[in-house]
């Protein structure tokens, strides 16, 4: 009990002293804040990208591609094969009609608003079933496309990022004029970065003939994947592979996520080392400035442990303050910040997401750095020879 009250007494004394040593204390706050800000920012970027890529992924939806293709842009399924696939077991039916949509996918060059340079924008040809398979798609402005016409609807993120996609404007692609008739929203998933049109119009203009790039289907239940997979594999007329939509988009985001995470972890760990040096410096000088004070306490009968704890508590508090301020600032500035980058082949827009888990990770890192940076100076404080320190040498 005595020990605890000693620890509290000395710690409070140190904390009350922080204002007199504002400069060096700020070094700890800013140093650790910098590390946490970088970590939180990069994690928020990776998290946002992942959420967008996987937001499209539902466990009970599948994507069917040609075997060997790992993105829709490389796929090709002939209309004959598509008709065979339509009647396979495991696909959900409403009113006797299977919920499966043949789609074509190309990338088109459109200028980015930000720098007016051409970017690869995903251009998806859809069937009427596409909207049933993906019920989250909602036309939020203008109207949906009429099939059989050169009309487009544009995802909300694509409309933000690329120029010339206002409702009513026309887009000239491959000797055809396409009219933008509406905007659609899919609740923040990757489809928001796309432009949609009638698959048959896209096929005609882009010389796709009678093939789809991919098919999207709704399973009767998420367990029916194996049944459908086996049935596709055993059919000699087909050379297709099937993937859950969630797995498909997970794989697509892997390389970019690895890039961001790789950079994030390397940079934050090196920064963390630098920050520890800064904390050590500050705490060592705090201890040496206070050596008379500490020796007096020891002479009055305070034990070594309360002295050690008080130094660690001080550095921990400064570190947590730095970490929390940085996490908060990162949240205020970056949460919801829209970025766009090139995904596997085409542009993907996404929002930074500063989640509670990320903030917790940042503050935990700050605490760890605070403790590590406080321990050595604390031990030194406890070992100060009392008589020498009191003489002020």
């Amino acid at each position: 009990m005595e020990l605890i009250s000693q620890i509290i007494a000395v710690s409070l004394m140190n904390i009350r002293n922080i204002p007199t040593r504002l400069g060096p204390s700020l070094v700890v706050v800013v140093g650790i804040g910098g590390v946490v800000a970088v970590l939180v920012g990069l994690m928020a970027m990776a998290q946002g990208f992942k959420a967008t890529m996987q937001g499209a992924g539902h466990d009970d939806r599948v994507i069917i591609l040609r075997a060997g293709a790992n993105s829709e842009i490389n796929g090709s399924i002939s209309f004959e094969q598509a008709n065979i696939i339509r009647n396979k077991p495991g696909i959900k039916k409403t009113a006797g009609e299977p919920l499966i949509a043949g789609e074509s996918y190309v990338s088109v060059n459109i200028s980015k608003r930000a720098n007016q340079s051409a970017a690869n924008v995903p251009f998806r040809g859809v069937s009427e079933e596409s909207f049933v398979v993906r019920p989250e798609i909602e036309v939020i402005e203008g109207r949906n496309i009429e099939f059989g016409k050169f009309e487009l609807i544009v995802g909300t993120s694509a409309a933000d990022q690329f120029s010339g996609l206002e409702i009513g404007s026309t887009l000239s692609l491959r000797n055809a004029e396409w009219l933008v008739v509406g905007y659609f929203d899919s609740g923040g998933s990757i489809y928001d970065s796309e432009i949609w049109t009638d698959v048959l119009m896209l096929n005609t203009v882009f010389g796709r003939g009678s093939t789809y790039s991919s098919m999207a289907a709704q399973l009767s239940s998420s367990e029916d994947l194996e049944q459908l997979r086996i049935s596709l594999e055993q059919d000699p007329r087909l050379t297709n592979k099937i993937q859950r939509e969630s797995d498909f988009y997970g794989a697509q985001s892997e390389a970019t996520n690895q890039l961001i995470t790789g950079v994030g972890i390397s940079v934050s760990s090196i920064m963390a080392i630098g920050a520890i040096f800064a904390v050590l410096n500050t705490m060592y000088s705090a201890v040496s400035e206070r050596s008379i004070e500490i020796a007096t306490l020891r002479a009055l009968g305070f034990g070594r442990l309360p002295i050690i704890c008080s130094v660690i508590v001080e550095s921990l508090l400064l570190a947590i303050a730095g970490g929390s301020i940085a996490a908060l600032l990162t949240y205020l500035f970056f949460n919801g910040f829209t970025a766009s980058t090139i995904g596997t082949n085409t542009q993907v827009s996404f929002e930074f997401m500063v989640t509670p888990t990320i903030i917790l990770t940042g503050v935990s890192l700050a605490s760890a750095l605070g403790i590590v940076g406080g321990v050595f100076p604390a031990v030194r404080a406890a070992r100060l020879p009392i008589s020498e320190a009191l003489r002020g040498s």
Binding site: V106, L259, V263, I270, I273, G274, N281
Partner: protein, 385 residues
């Protein structure tokens, strides 16, 4: 020079503080050295290309292909020196991460090596590449990274170009090329023989991704580009002809504000650590005002005192900056394993000089205020403290 003993003595005065300050400075410059290639990669500084190479691409979509006859037609245009063509092969080598370390292209060996003189391939290997149907060549850094040797079989699993036997392709490595300094286009590539590729692929025979040509007269490149695009306007497959530099720059722009973000983060990282260090260093100098007064009492000139204080700051920053950047240069060899997408992992001389310049400026910023104070110091006042 005779004052070096003094400078060292003051650095040794508080060894822990000096050591920790040096360590955090070193970390700052280590980060600078490690991140500089990343910044370069995002700003397009890494890919230095030749000014007289032009790329012809499909105008509307990267998923479109040009008919191979465009190659001969462009070759015949006035002002075109040599034209070659290249086709994006894609495919998977080992796994997705390894595959992202380099790109794979089908090319016509002779013309391609002519328009890309920065790729140095021994003559007998070039002959082998021309004469081996299943031949392939690779840049040296990739050969070293994946332990490929001439004579090896290179398996690639197709994702776009399937062949008569399915999706498995196998090439014979017949050459390893070096990329000369100053023009890094073509680094991190595996090149395979177009004729074999075209014969063996099952769909899309006779189509290519780009025509790449050199112009005899640089001043004419814009008008030649326009005449290529005019030739194909309103045709089935319209073209867009730009200089190689613009093409590569545009690819980097596609990375979008992520590049900007990374650069902002780099700047934040560096300046945070520098500010911290600056604070500690100037604190250390302020602590010594009394000693400086003693020096002056002993008859040191004002300027000497100024220089001694500055020398201390310079010594500390330059040594630690050198050590940090040196360590970064060493660690960069392993960069491609952490971030395989960036393959040009090395520090340019300019980056090193930039780092040292930053160290110099830092030393002045940190050292000059206390040094000036020391110079103007009134001995009596200082000794009284």
């Amino acid at each position: 020079m005779k004052f070096f003993g003094l400078v060292f003595a003051s650095l040794r005065r508080k060894p822990i503080r000096t050591g920790l300050t040096a360590a955090s400075l070193m970390v700052a410059f280590l980060l600078f050295g490690l991140l500089e290639p990343v910044v370069q990669a995002f700003s397009g500084g890494a890919a230095v290309s030749s000014e007289n190479r032009m790329w012809v691409s499909p105008r509307h979509s990267i998923s479109d292909m040009l008919p191979v006859r465009y190659h001969q037609q462009i070759q015949r245009l006035d002002g075109v020196d040599v034209a070659a063509h290249q086709t994006w092969f894609g495919g998977v080598y080992i796994d997705a991460v390894s595959s992202s370390a380099f790109t794979r292209w089908a090319v016509t060996p002779r013309e391609f090596m002519q328009v890309n003189p920065q790729l140095e391939l021994p003559l007998e290997q070039l002959d082998a590449f021309i004469n081996t149907r299943t031949g392939a060549i690779v840049s040296r850094n990739i050969a070293e990274r994946f332990d490929m040797k001439v004579g090896d079989k290179i398996p690639i699993l197709a994702d776009i170009w399937h062949n008569e036997d399915g999706s498995q392709w196998e090439f014979d490595l017949v050459g390893i090329y070096d990329v000369i300094e100053g023009d890094s286009v073509g680094a991190n590539r595996l090149l395979v023989n177009y004729d074999f590729f075209d014969e063996y692929r099952i769909v899309g025979k006779g189509v290519i991704s780009n025509v790449v040509f050199t112009v005899a007269d640089l001043a004419q490149s814009a008008s030649i580009a326009a005449s290529v695009d005019d030739m194909y306007s309103n045709s089935e497959m319209e073209t867009l002809t730009v200089s190689e530099q613009d093409y590569l720059l545009n690819q980097i722009k596609q990375l979008g504000n992520i590049g900007l973000m990374v650069r902002a983060i780099m700047a934040a990282v560096f300046f945070t650590i520098l500010l911290l260090t600056a604070n500690t260093m100037s604190q250390a100098l302020r602590d010594r005002v009394g000693e400086l007064a003693v020096l002056k009492t002993l008859g040191f000139q004002d300027v000497s005192v100024l220089l001694i204080v500055l020398a201390e700051a310079l010594l500390l920053t330059l040594i630690t900056a050198g050590a940090g950047i040196g360590l970064a240069a060493y660690l960069l060899r392993f960069g491609e394993y952490v971030v395989p997408q960036i393959s040009h992992w090395s520090l340019s001389i300019n980056s090193v000089l930039l780092g040292l310049a930053v160290a110099f400026v830092l030393a002045l910023l940190v050292g000059l205020p206390p040094a000036l104070k020391a110079m103007r110091l009134n001995i009596a006042d200082a000794l009284q403290r």
